[in-house]
Amino acid sequence: MDQGQSHRIRRRLLALGHFIGLLLAMSLICLPGLWVVLNSFRPTVEIMAKPPVWIPSELNLDNYRAMFGGIGEGGVPVLTYFWNSLVISLTSTVIALLVGMAGGYAFARYRIPGKSAVFVGLMVTRAVPGVALSLPLFILYGRLGIIDTHFGMILVYVALNVPFTIWLIDGFFRQVPKELAEAAEIDGCTRWQAFWKVEFPVARAGIASAGIFAFLTSWNEYALASQLTRSLNSKTMPVGLMDFTSQFTLNWGGMCALAVLMIIPALVLTFLVQKHLIAGLTFGGVKG
């Protein structure tokens, strides 16, 4: 009786310790994000205060108001940046997914001579740091005349994402038994119908997670975008953040406000497909 009770208490204490530990770890991870959100709502004086002010004395929307305001009042073309980011990220994600599905399916299902060599070759392109590509890309794009265009940015991000989507989607199609498509074909489907009605829906979770990864890569990418974009034509949100720096000052409040706007769509998207994302990640984990 007594023993059971002490056992129970110990188990509760352990659970509590677990909870506190996780809370501490999570706060460490979340702190920078929280700090950005907090800073977007308070004046520069408080942001720059030393020692740091943890509990804000005043919260307001001044930074947001200024950001959406006119050119003279510290305004930046947020909506244009947002639109550029959205168009470039979404388009490149859709293309990367389509190519990834075609490629991943082919790698998973067909016997192609030199398959593993091609596959490794694709993966190796991911090993090249993005920044190392910026100069060659800049020269190439300059000659082609596609600097500062949506098309140019979409091309870069598709190239960046395709190896990854192929790899991930290949893994998912490998997990779909090929008898499913065969059963569908016997049930009256064409090869194409068998793919869209059976194999695609079964691998959907994996394809969704590949899509999220591709979208976030494009949405957050800064290094290449800062080289290859020039003006309102194609500047994306991460590049837009630099509008808040000038020769002698740095408008931290404004930058944080734009950063918050940037985080929101990514956050919403991640929440929406969270379940798939976890399934996708663990899926990839067990893939041999």
């Binding site: 065969e182 489907c189 009605k197 079964v202 959907r204």
Partner: protein
């Protein structure tokens, strides 16, 4: 419903032939089982009939159409796969109705067909579940339901029971046989399990290394195997084979002892043979051996016993080879006990030692 005819059907994987010009006539409504060890080409043959594998040579005819170049969807067949291949994202109802849905049949017709199939296979309470929520046996029944919904000309079964536990397998075997009695459709069934083959088939097709070795009713292949491979493959326990030489109208075993020549065989003196006898035809005296005209008697020490309830399997040594014998109405037997066994010679077989071919005329 239709008959199925295979003429000189060949399958090569690159330069590697896996099915060698096989010929097979399957009558309308017949239940034919393809059986053989793994890698014998039985599944490949089935998949060629289904249209899932290209045919390298010869023709496959279903009904009055040569189907060599028809895609699976135009062959009017159904197939049950070893891993069931149920669509995991669809409910049982959707799985059953999928083929009709693809064929764009009216909804009322689909509902009726699905309800009928579900009734036959007692799946009605499970119609709204997903395959992931079903047990192995239930999944198996859904796979069968999906096959019968479209009233195909031919059912193809590819080792459908090998993922089930022993008890369920026996149960589903009966259900498949009952299904065949009910719908009467031609069935081609692939298995590596000879018991499944014997219990289910109207006719058994035994394959080995891409060739058909023997075609016959279960009783025919059991009683008159064409060679030593069939003799040891069909029947449990496998037929005992003892090396022997034909010497002056008798068989001389490896240790020099002789047993009389079984009747009805064509042999020549000095020929090296294998003497084949099933455990059912070699029994200790006094234990229900049915009396026959041709009996031989041997004495053997028992090395191991395997009691099976109504009978006991005795492992004994004859001329240096281990043989299995059956003891009906068993009594306890000590290891090492020497028993006198009777061999029913008219039920025995001789196979040529080099070719393995049966020497029965």
């Amino acid at each position: 419903m239709a008959d199925v005819v295979l003429r000189d059907v060949v399958k090569n994987y690159g330069a590697l032939p896996v099915v060698h010009a096989i010929n097979l006539d399957i009558a309308h409504g017949e239940f034919v089982v393809l059986v053989g060890p793994s890698g014998c080409g039985k599944s490949t043959t089935l998949r060629m009939i289904a249209g899932l594998e290209a045919i390298s040579g010869g023709t496959v005819r279903i009904g009055d159409r040569v189907v060599n170049d028809l895609p699976p969807r135009d062959r009017n067949i159904s197939m049950v796969f070893q891993n069931y291949a149920l669509y995991p994202h669809m409910s049982v109802r959707e799985n059953l109705g999928f083929s009709l849905h693809i064929a764009k049949r009216p909804k009322a017709e689909i509902d009726k067909a699905v309800a009928e199939a579900a009734e036959i296979l007692s799946l009605t309470p499970l119609l709204d579940r997903k395959p992931g929520q079903l047990s192995g046996g239930q999944r198996q029944r859904v796979a069968m339901g999906r096959a019968i919904v479209r009233h195909p000309d031919v059912f193809l079964f590819d080792e459908p029971l090998s993922n089930l536990d022993a008890k369920l397998r026996t149960q589903m075997r009966v259900e498949i046989k009952r299904l065949h009695q009910k719908v009467g459709t031609t069935i081609i069934y692939v298995t590596h399990d000879q018991i499944e083959a014997i219990t289910l088939a109207d006719r058994i097709v035994i394959m080995r290394d891409g060739h058909i070795v023997q075609i016959g009713t279960p009783l025919e292949v059991f009683e008159r195997p064409v060679n030593a491979f069939v003799a040891t493959f069909i029947g449990s326990p496998p037929m005992n084979l003892l090396p022997a030489t034909v010497a002056g109208g008798a068989l001389r075993l490896a240790d020099g002892s002789t047993i009389p020549m079984p009747p009805g065989l064509s042999v020549r003196d000095g020929q090296a043979v294998h003497f084949g006898v099933r455990a059912d035809n070699i029994m200790p005296e006094g234990h229900s051996m049915p009396p026959t005209a041709h009996m031989a008697h041997v004495e053997m020490p028992v090395t191991l016993t395997e009691p099976l309830g109504t009978e006991t399997l005795l492992f004994a040594t004859l001329a240096g080879t281990e043989v299995q014998a059956k003891m009906l109405n068993p009594r306890p037997v000590r290891t090492g006990e020497v028993l006198r066994f009777g061999i029913a010679l008219d039920k025995c077989h001789l196979f040529d030692a080099t070719t393995g071919a049966s020497l029965r005329v």
